[in-house]
Amino acid sequence: MNERDIVVPGEKIASGMDYLPGNGTFREGEDIYSSQLGLVGVNGRFVKVIPLTGKYIPREGDIVVGKVVDVGFGMWNVDIGSAYSAILNMRETSEFIDRGADLSHYYDFNDVVIAQVTKVVRYKDVNLTMKGQGLRKVKGGKIIDVTPSKVPRIIGKQGSMIKMIKEGTGCNIVVGQNGKVWIKGERIEDEVKATEVILKIEQESHTQGLTDTIKNILEGKGK
């Protein structure tokens, strides 16, 4: 077993009781097998598989970009790209809402919101909040989808990569942990460029020296 090996479902990763199965793996008898297509990760005694594809699995505290898909009584349903839609309660908004008020006045169908995950019960029941810094409804711009497991690479160490893209294109960009990226620029060309760059990072996320490649693209040098 090697760290960062690519494994497919049903592939044996480790044998013996010295290891414990983590996310994306399962134990059968003595051996630990992968249950997903991804990279092997070892953390102490824990063996896990970091998925390379798949739906977003919500975690508490994540900042996500979502779209309002339903306006209900006292709450909104927000599509965050996971298997289940998330719930945004009326009380979790940043402004005061009167009882019986028309909720679509605040967030309507197809509105894009930047929200934070507050509570997750077994992937299923996901609660969101709009209370917090930078959490808001956004207007205009576009949303692109990337694989959730590649989000850390797009953000970079301490936000270095995303900062570079923002400065290079002059766009306003929000990267949700759910793999939805909101981009808004002054001109449409800026948005196109930011999109291109982000999709390139997603494609080549596992290569070395990506920061330099991206820097060159942003400065208009080579491809």
Binding site: I6, G10, Q36, T53, A83, Y84
Partner: protein, 232 residues
């Protein structure tokens, strides 16, 4: 009279030429193309996603929904488009061949949709479909206990052969077609159908041959899946 030599010059236990590709359908969560000789299947996976209408939801485990369809231009004589008695049956057996390896209990109230489209048919379409679907499911990141590979075996004349093509299936002295799907790790049979006549011994021999074929197919599936992330 007996069947001494295969028309396309293959050995009796040799598969047709296989080509596989992952990520062929852009908008799907996972997709794969699987080609065996002149049979081409494209599988696309969507989900897990919420299932509507709600009465179809299962609060204990997710639902797997397979849909097998042949394109009207996939066969020599134009096939009337739309579901038929045959495609409904194949959808059902495909679903059962795949359901046992997927961790459906992780996603209650949801559905995983698998669409299998045969764009070119030359016997063994359901097997190509299952092999493609297994790859597409892995590509969609769905937790699975195992991979599934499928191949058809059969008796042409008096010979047991692997991976029949259309000509062999229509062999004038009679041919038996046995599609087999198998899990890769535990080698459990998840699909076994039989059209024709065989003795018990012949069937056992055929299954043995299918096992070998499935192993080969599994190797190609694994190689193709790993290749997406290797280069570049």
């Amino acid at each position: 009279m007996s069947y001494t030599k295969r028309d396309d010059g293959r050995k009796f236990d040799e598969l047709r030429k296989i080509k596989a590709k992952v990520g062929v359908v852009k908008r799907a969560d996972g997709s794969a193309m699987f080609q065996m000789g002149d049979t081409i299947a494209i599988a696309s996976v969507y989900g897990p996603r919420e299932l509507h209408p709600r009465f179809l939801q299962n609060p204990e485990r997710g639902v797997l929904r397979c849909n097998y369809d042949m394109a009207s231009f996939s066969v020599t004589e134009r096939k009337k488009p739309g579901p038929s008695r045959r495609s409904t049956e194949i959808s059902l057996v495909t679903e059962k061949a795949l359901a046992s390896v997927i961790d459906l209990d992780l996603f209650p109230n949801t559905v995983i949709d698998v669409f299998i489209e045969i764009i070119q048919a030359n016997a063994g379409t359901r097997c190509a479909g299952i092999s493609a679907a297994a790859m597409a499911l892995a590509h969609a990141g769905i937790p699975m206990r195992d991979m599934v590979a499928a191949v058809s075996v059969g008796k042409v004349g008096d010979k047991i052969v692997l991976d029949l093509d259309k000509e062999e299936e229509d062999f004038e002295e009679g041919a038996t077609d046995i599609p087999v799907a198998m899990t890769a790790r535990k080698r459990e049979i998840t699909l076994l159908q039989l059209d024709g006549e065989v003795t018990k011994d012949e069937l056992m021999e055929a299954i043995k041959m299918a096992r070998k074929g499935c192993e080969e197919i599994h190797k190609i599936q694994v190689k193709t899946l790993k290749e997406i992330y290797k280069n570049g």
